[in-house]
C-alpha cells in the first residue's frame, strides 16, 4: 500500500473552528466534556478551541436541556431555549429566579430574582403554576431522575380571558454512567396553546430519546416522535389535570412502542440486514466445493436470491 502523502491544503482558522464546533455539537448526551478534551488535543490550539467552544456550548446545552444546580442549594435550573432571557441568563419560573451561567464550564455562577417584566402576568401564572404542580407529580412518578419546568412562551402579558397564550412543558431526564460506558437522555417538550376563542387547548409534543453504549464498540440509539392532542379550556387546575393526562398517556404509549421496536429487532428488523441462518437452517457448506457449482447453477435456474 503506497503511503498516503497529504495533498490537502493547510486548513485555515475558520475551517478549524467549524470542525471543532461540529465535534462539540455532535457529542452524545453527557459527553461533551470528554469530547472537548479530545478535540483540544487534536486541535493543539487553545485560542481557536476557545472561540469554537464559546459558540458550540450554548447550542449544545440548550438542545440537550442540561440541568444545572443553583448556588445556595435552592434547586436546579433547566437550560432550554424556552427559558432563555439572554445567552447567559435562564429563567426558573418555579422559583421566579434567573440563573446566570457559564456555558463552557457548564455551571451556574450566580442567581438573581426575576423582574416583573420577565415573568408572566398573574392570569397566565395561575395556569402555569397549576400545570407545573401536576407535571412535578407526574415526573416524580414516571422518571427516577427527571427534571421539569413549565414556561410561558407566548402571550405572557395577557391580563385576562379574551386572548390566547402558550405554555411549554419541558421534561429532561439524563443518565450518565461513564464507568459502565453507557449514557442516555430523554427529552420531551410539550407546547400547549390556550386558544381563547375556541375554548380549546392544542397540545403538541416532541419526544427525543438517545442512548450511547461504548464498551469495546460504539452503538447509539436515536429515536424521536411527534404527537398532537387537544382538550377543553377549563379552570387552571382542571386544565392542568387534562394536559398532564394527555402527556402521561402519550409518553407511556411511546415507551411501549420503543419496547416493541426493540423486541422486533432480532427476528424481524435485523433480518433485512442479515439473517441468523440461511433459509436451509444449516451452516454454509464450505467444505463442499462441488456443491458450489451445483448451487450456483440451481440458484440461477430457480432465481433464488433475487
Amino acid at each position: 500500500m503506497a503511503d498516503e502523502e497529504s495533498q490537502e491544503p493547510e486548513l485555515n482558522d475558520k475551517q478549524k473552528i467549524e470542525i471543532t464546533k461540529w465535534f462539540l455539537l455532535n457529542s452524545p448526551a453527557g459527553e461533551i466534556q470528554y469530547v472537548a478534551k479530545d478535540i483540544q488535543a487534536v486541535l493543539k490550539d487553545d485560542n481557536l478551541y476557545n472561540l469554537a467552544a464559546l459558540e458550540a456550548f450554548p447550542l449544545y446545552n440548550k438542545s440537550h436541556m442540561i440541568c444545572l444546580e443553583i448556588p445556595g442549594g435552592v434547586g436546579d435550573v433547566l437550560i432550554t431555549s424556552s427559558g432563555e432571557l439572554s445567552e447567559t441568563e435562564y429563567l426558573d419560573p418555579r422559583t421566579a429566579q434567573v440563573a446566570i451561567i457559564d456555558h463552557v464550564k457548564q455551571v451556574c455562577t450566580e442567581v438573581r430574582p426575576a423582574t416583573d417584566e420577565e415573568l408572566p402576568s398573574p392570569y397566565v401564572e395561575e395556569f402555569r403554576c397549576a400545570l407545573d404542580a401536576e407535571i412535578i407529580k407526574y415526573v416524580d412518578e414516571a422518571y427516577p431522575k427527571g427534571i421539569c419546568s413549565v414556561y410561558c412562551i407566548g402571550g405572557k402579558d395577557v391580563e385576562g380571558p379574551g386572548f390566547d397564550f402558550e405554555l411549554a412543558v419541558v421534561i429532561s431526564a439524563a443518565r450518565h454512567s461513564p464507568q459502565n460506558f453507557c449514557n442516555g437522555s430523554w427529552r420531551s417538550v410539550w407546547n400547549v396553546e390556550f386558544k381563547d376563542d375556541l375554548q380549546m387547548l392544542e397540545v403538541r409534543g416532541k419526544l427525543q430519546v438517545g442512548a450511547h453504549y461504548f464498551e469495546e464498540g460504539n452503538v447509539q440509539l436515536d429515536a424521536s416522535h411527534e404527537c398532537k392532542d387537544s382538550t377543553f379550556f377549563q379552570s387552571p387546575e382542571d386544565s392542568a389535570i387534562s394536559i398532564c393526562n394527555i402527556i402521561r398517556h402519550h409518553e407511556t404509549e411511546y415507551l411501549t412502542s420503543l419496547q416493541v421496536s426493540y423486541s422486533n429487532l432480532p427476528d424481524t428488523t435485523f433480518k433485512d440486514l442479515r439473517r441468523k441462518l440461511p433459509v436451509t437452517r444449516t451452516l454454509f457448506p464450505w467444505h463442499n466445493t462441488m456443491q458450489f457449482s451445483l448451487t450456483r447453477d440451481i440458484t440461477k435456474e430457480l432465481g433464488i436470491g433475487k
Binding site: E8, G184, H212, G217, A223, D272, P278, F284, R296
Partner: protein, 256 residues
C-alpha cells in the same frame, strides 16, 4: 492519535465519514494510521468489463485506483499496480465466487468482494468484504427499514506452520445502522460499529478457503448476536432506566 480514536468512539456512527475526513484534515501526518484504524462505511465501484460492482478498501487500492476482483484490472487504469501471484489469484477468484453465494444465503442481496496478496513471511493476507443496503428501496426483503446498512470487513492473515497446518488471524469489523419510521411510533434509529479478533490453527487439508470461510461465518454470527443482544440491549436498558415502564398508570380525574 489516542484523542482522535477517543473522538471516533463518541461520535455517532452515522457521522463516521464526516468525522474521519475532519480528523484527516486536522492531523494529516497521521493519515495512514487513521485510515487503517478508523472504521468507515464501504464504497463501491462498477467494473467496466463485467458490469459487476466491487467494494473499495485500502487493500485493493494503489494511489487513486482500485483493483476489481472480477477482471483483476485497476479502475482507473494503472501502469504498474501490484497484483497477486497467478496462484493466489486463482484462490482469490474461487473465494469471490464462493463468498458471493455465502453472501446471498445470509444477506439475500448485497455486494461482496475478496482481495488477497502475499506477505513477506511466505503467507498471505485475505480481505473479505460485504456491503448490504437493507432499506426498503435497497435489498431489504421485508420492507421494514427506512434505512439500513451493514458493512463487514474481515481481514485474515494466514501463516503456514509446521507440516500441514496454518495459523489464521482474523480481525473483523462490522458497521451497521438501521432506521424505522412510521406515524405511530416516530423515528427509531440504531447504529453501531464493533471490531473483534479471533486466532485459530487449522489443518490445510480442507483448503484455506474452507478454514477462512468457517471462521468468518462464526465471527459474523457472534457479532450479529452481540450487537443485537448486548449492544442494542444496553441501549434499551438505558431507556428503561430513564423512564421505567409502569404497570399501573393512574389517570387523575378532575375534581369537579
Amino acid at each position: 492519535m489516542e484523542a482522535a480514536m477517543g473522538l471516533m468512539r463518541r461520535i455517532h456512527p452515522k457521522h463516521a465519514e464526516t468525522a474521519l475526513s475532519a480528523l484527516l484534515s486536522l492531523l494529516p501526518e497521521h493519515s495512514t494510521d487513521l485510515l487503517s484504524q478508523v472504521d468507515q462505511p464501504l464504497q463501491v465501484l462498477c467494473d467496466i468489463d463485467s458490469g459487476k460492482e466491487f467494494i473499495l478498501c485500502e487493500y485493493n487500492r494503489d494511489a487513486d485506483s482500485y483493483r476489481s476482483p472480477w477482471s483483476n484490472k485497476y479502475h482507473p487504469p494503472l501502469e504498474d499496480g501490484p497484483y497477486p501471484s497467478p496462484e493466489l489469484r486463482k484462490l482469490e477468484i474461487e473465494a469471490n465466487d464462493v463468498f458471493a453465494i455465502y453472501r446471498d444465503q445470509y444477506y439475500e442481496g448485497g455486494i461482496s468482494s475478496v482481495y488477497m496478496w502475499e506477505d513477506e513471511n511466505g503467507g498471505f493476507v485475505a480481505c473479505f468484504l460485504i456491503k448490504k443496503d437493507g432499506s426498503k428501496s435497497g435489498h431489504g426483503r421485508r420492507g421494514y427499514l427506512q434505512e439500513g446498512a451493514w458493512d463487514a470487513i474481515h481481514v485474515i492473515e494466514v501463516e503456514p506452520e509446521e507440516e500441514g497446518t496454518a495459523r489464521y488471524c482474523l480481525t473483523s469489523t462490522i458497521m451497521l445502522s438501521l432506521t424505522t419510521d412510521d406515524k405511530s411510533s416516530g423515528r427509531f434509529s440504531l447504529s453501531g460499529s464493533i471490531r473483534r479478533q479471533m486466532n485459530m490453527d487449522f489443518s490445510v487439508a480442507d483448503g484455506h478457503l474452507c478454514n477462512m470461510g468457517r471462521m468468518i461465518e462464526e465471527m459474523e454470527s457472534k457479532l450479529r448476536n452481540s450487537l443485537d443482544q448486548v449492544y442494542f440491549g444496553k441501549t434499551k436498558e438505558m431507556v428503561c432506566t430513564l423512564r421505567p415502564p409502569s404497570e399501573v398508570i393512574q389517570m387523575r380525574l378532575p375534581d369537579s
